[in-house]
């Protein structure tokens, strides 16, 4: 069978389409579909993909990109917000599950170092599978979803010390091929090298990547930005590999470093399609990696391992979730949803195996068990929700905690120039959080230097609006200075986020009409209020009292707004024909005249009549005379 690129691509893509279609139809989720597809076409299945090496290579690229994105999600502010949940339930779970599994391993006669390494590797759940399942089932924003998310966050973080400390547990010398130049160093030096390499990535990420992205962003070529992002991920992976470290770890650290940068949303959105496909590829390669002959040869061992892994993890999670005050239905859901082995297990077992920490004879069956436990996830989810709903019927539900999943913004502000900044400050000053998208990299840079957190990106892109939090926000403030772009953003937001209230900055009257036509919630002409104020100040300069001038301006505003509305009806009737334009200019002359008359009459019959006692004085005078 030919194994050229096109054949392979076709086999992978076709197998995933068919399997995911079937799995989704059966309500089992896409992840299981990919795994089955992989097992079917893999070297142990039908053998369409004969070369296990190439499969693992593809898997590694998928892992690398996925970890970069997981890193990007780990915004320092978010970690700080969830610190109690992460440190509480998260750290307790990893510690207790890891030690229990290590204990079980030692009972079966494993060396303590091997048992500890394997135990902690198996204590990790699958962020990718769980988060994807949560999102597919719409559970991500529930109490249980948030608790699961915090546990997964801690597990993601725990990978770094594991990668760093595993060399200390080595029982055999690492294999030269994988460990590169570091393999000859003693264990303590390897550990130092890991920390040094991570430190280098952090430093370079902080100092170099942002200026680089700023330069690229100025080009305003989306594909070059995407290329740069992928190049960055690949580059970091290569760097890490060349010093003998896990490329996945490097990508993860690079992601964390960029998580609080202004390019986060843009990076996420640009790499997202690659993530989706490569994650599929990753799951396929995991499926292909399931050693079917091994399972067939020792089915009982593998089944026992799967059962042990799932039972220990689920039991630990249930007990701890209850101990941390979660209601029983939530605890059941958390326990069953997070019981499987994680994608980090594949990475860590590969790392541990090449580092001489865990021998292949131990890692092989465990990898198979992890893969199988992951395949069980959809079933465990179904089981969990049945158990939880059965429990929820008998237990009164506690009020949901009002803790946001992350710092979800109340308002998304598109455009952070002179206009958007003021809106932002008013909202912030009154306790509302905002998420800012700004299209000019220079502007982002300059407001960042004043401590404002603006993100680089084009707000007319659905994916960027979503990344900025449009799904959870209540408001969208369109404050960009480009008229056509403002209309585009409004249309995109109305189409995709119909729950959002949309408030917009209008350039002038005709732009305001364009916005009114789109029926948004509020429109403010950018120069109107400022000019009105100056008009009132001008009246004062001409000798008017402050209150009188203020009222005159207020009255002008009221009439101008009314006229805007009536003009809009005329404007909305026609298109851009010459006929329409002449009608508008005629109408405009009429309205101007109306406005002038209106102002004149209102100057005579001012609204301040109660204090203007002219008519009362006249009546009193007539009466006195009559007497």
């Amino acid at each position: 069978m030919a194994h050229d690129f096109l054949t392979q691509a076709f086999v992978f893509l076709a197998a995933s389409v068919v399997s995911v279609l079937i799995a989704s139809r059966l309500g089992l989720g896409s992840v299981l579909g990919y795994l089955v597809a992989g097992a079917l076409i893999g070297p142990f299945g039908l053998g369409f993909v004969g070369d296990p090496e190439s499969v693992m290579h593809a898997a590694e690229l998928g892992v690398v990109i996925m970890l970069f994105l997981i890193g990007l999600e780990l915004e320092p502010a978010l970690l700080w917000r969830l610190r109690t949940a992460i440190l509480g339930l998260g750290s307790a779970q990893v510690a207790v599950s890891g030690l229990t599994l290590a204990g079980v391993g030692m009972l079966f006669g494993l060396d303590w170092r091997i048992a500890v390494a394997a135990g902690f590797i198996l204590s990790l759940s699958s962020t990718a599978i769980v988060m994807q399942s949560l999102r597919e089932k719409g559970l991500a924003a529930t109490d249980f979803g948030r608790a699961a998310f915090s546990v997964l966050l801690f597990q993601d973080l725990a990978v770094i010390p594991m990668l760093a400390l595993f060399p200390l547990l080595a029982t055999a010398p690492g294999s030269e091929a994988r460990m590169g130049p570091l393999a000859s160093l003693p264990a303590w030096a390897q550990t130092i090298a890991v920390f040094a390499a991570v430190g280098a990535v952090v430093l370079v990420g902080r100092l170099l990547t942002r200026p680089m992205f700023r330069l690229i962003a100025r080009l305003r070529l989306n594909e070059i930005f995407t290329a740069a992002a992928l190049a960055l991920v690949a580059g970091v992976a290569l760097l890490m590999q060349s010093v003998g470290l896990s490329p996945a770890l490097g990508a993860f650290v690079a992601g964390v470093v960029l998580a609080d940068s202004e390019y986060r949303h843009e990076l996420q959105s640009d790499i997202e399609p690659f993530r989706a496909l490569l994650l599929g590829l990753f799951f396929i390669s995991v499926g292909a990696g399931i050693d079917i002959p091994l399972i067939v040869a020792r089915p009982l061992l593998i089944l026992a391992l799967v059962a042990g892994l799932v039972v220990v993890n689920a039991a630990t999670l249930y007990v701890l979730a209850r101990a941390f005050g979660r209601p029983r239905p939530d605890a059941i859901m958390i326990a069953l949803a997070l019981a499987q082995g994680g994608e980090f297990a594949f990475v860590l077992f590969a790392f541990a195996q090449t580092g001489g920490v865990v021998p292949g004879s131990v890692a092989g069956p465990l990898v198979a068990a992890v893969a199988l436990s992951r395949a069980l996830t959809p079933l465990l989810f179904v089981l969990g929700s049945h158990a939880a709903s059965a429990l929820a019927d008998s237990v009164t539900r506690e009020a949901p905690a009002d803790l946001p999943l992350d710092d979800r913004p109340h308002a998304v502000i598109a455009g952070f120039g002179r206009f958007g900044q003021i809106v932002h400050r008013v909202l912030r000053a009154n306790g509302y959080s905002t998420s800012i998208l700004e299209h000019s990299a220079d502007q982002v840079e300059s407001v960042r230097s004043f401590g404002n957190k603006a993100n680089y990106g084009d707000a007319s892109r659905v994916d960027l609006l979503r990344a900025a939090g449009a799904e959870d926000a209540k408001l969208l403030v369109v404050a960009v200075d480009n008229q056509a772009k403002a209309l585009e953003i409004v249309e995109v937001a109305q189409k995709h986020f119909s729950h959002l209230k949309i408030l917009a900055r209008a350039f002038d009257r005709s732009h305001a009409y364009e916005l009114m036509k789109r029926n948004i919630d509020a429109i403010e002409r950018e120069t109107f209020e400022g000019a009105l104020r100056l008009g009132s100040v001008a009246l004062r300069a001409l000798g008017w009292g402050a209150h009188r001038a203020e009222r005159a301006a207020g009255l002008f505003r009221r009439h101008d707004e009314r006229n805007m509305r009536s003009m809009f009806e005329i404007w909305g009737e026609g298109d851009d024909s010459a006929e329409y334009r002449s009608a508008v200019s005629a109408r405009r002359a009429m309205v101007d005249e109306m406005l002038r008359r209106d102002l004149v009459t209102h100057q005579v019959s001012a609204p301040d009549e109660a204090w203007d006692t002219q008519s009362l004085d006249a009546e009193v005078e007539r009466r006195t005379r009559a007497k």
Partner: protein
């Protein structure tokens, strides 16, 4: 034919008012009742006089619902009276637009019932404090009704508040029936 009722509601810090929220909830949406939140309509205190006069003309009874700030009313109620009740329209020569209509003041007061009176800390009764309103209503040829008062609005219990809201609703319904 039931009489139409216009509720002029004024509370500059409505988000903090427990008592007024209960009262508003009890009457808002009643058929034949127009609920008009003045601070929502005129956050800049720019009362739209023609609009207000039109509203008054369209209704048979007026209810002014507000807290009893400084033995009186929030500033916007006074502004509204100053601006809307114009000479030659509401009073004086030819000022008959409001003739025969009914006025009910519905107020919430922080003080207890016994604090109002010669022996109480506030020295005068609510009726005495309300005299400027009563006189204003009389000058505009309207009928003055005994005010609806919720006392001790900060201390009142949730059940007492619910009772107060219910009797407020009864007053409004009676206003529709009997004028």
């Amino acid at each position: 034919m039931p009489r139409s009722v216009l509720i002029l509601f004024a509370h500059p810090a409505y988000h903090r008012s427990r008592a007024n929220r209960a009262l508003v909830d009890a009457v808002q949406g009643l058929e034949g009742v127009t609920f008009h939140d003045l601070y929502e309509s005129y956050p800049d205190l720019m009362v739209d006089v023609p609009r207000e006069q039109e509203l008054l003309a369209e209704h048979d009874a007026v209810v002014a619902q507000h807290p009893f700030y400084w033995y009186s009313a929030p500033a916007l109620i006074k502004e509204w009276i100053d601006l809307v009740l114009t000479h030659g329209w509401a009073y004086g020569e030819g000022g008959t637009a409001l003739t025969g209509k009914t006025w009910l003041s519905a107020i919430t007061s922080g003080g207890s019932e016994d604090s109002y009176g010669p022996s109480g800390g506030n020295r005068f009764s609510v009726a005495e404090f309300m005299r400027p309103f009563e006189a204003t209503v009389a000058l505009c040829h309207m009928r003055w009704l005994e005010p609806f008062v919720v006392h001790a609005s900060h201390l009142v219990s949730q059940t007492e508040l619910a009772d107060a809201a219910l009797s407020y609703r009864e007053r409004i319904l009676a206003l529709q029936r009997d004028g």
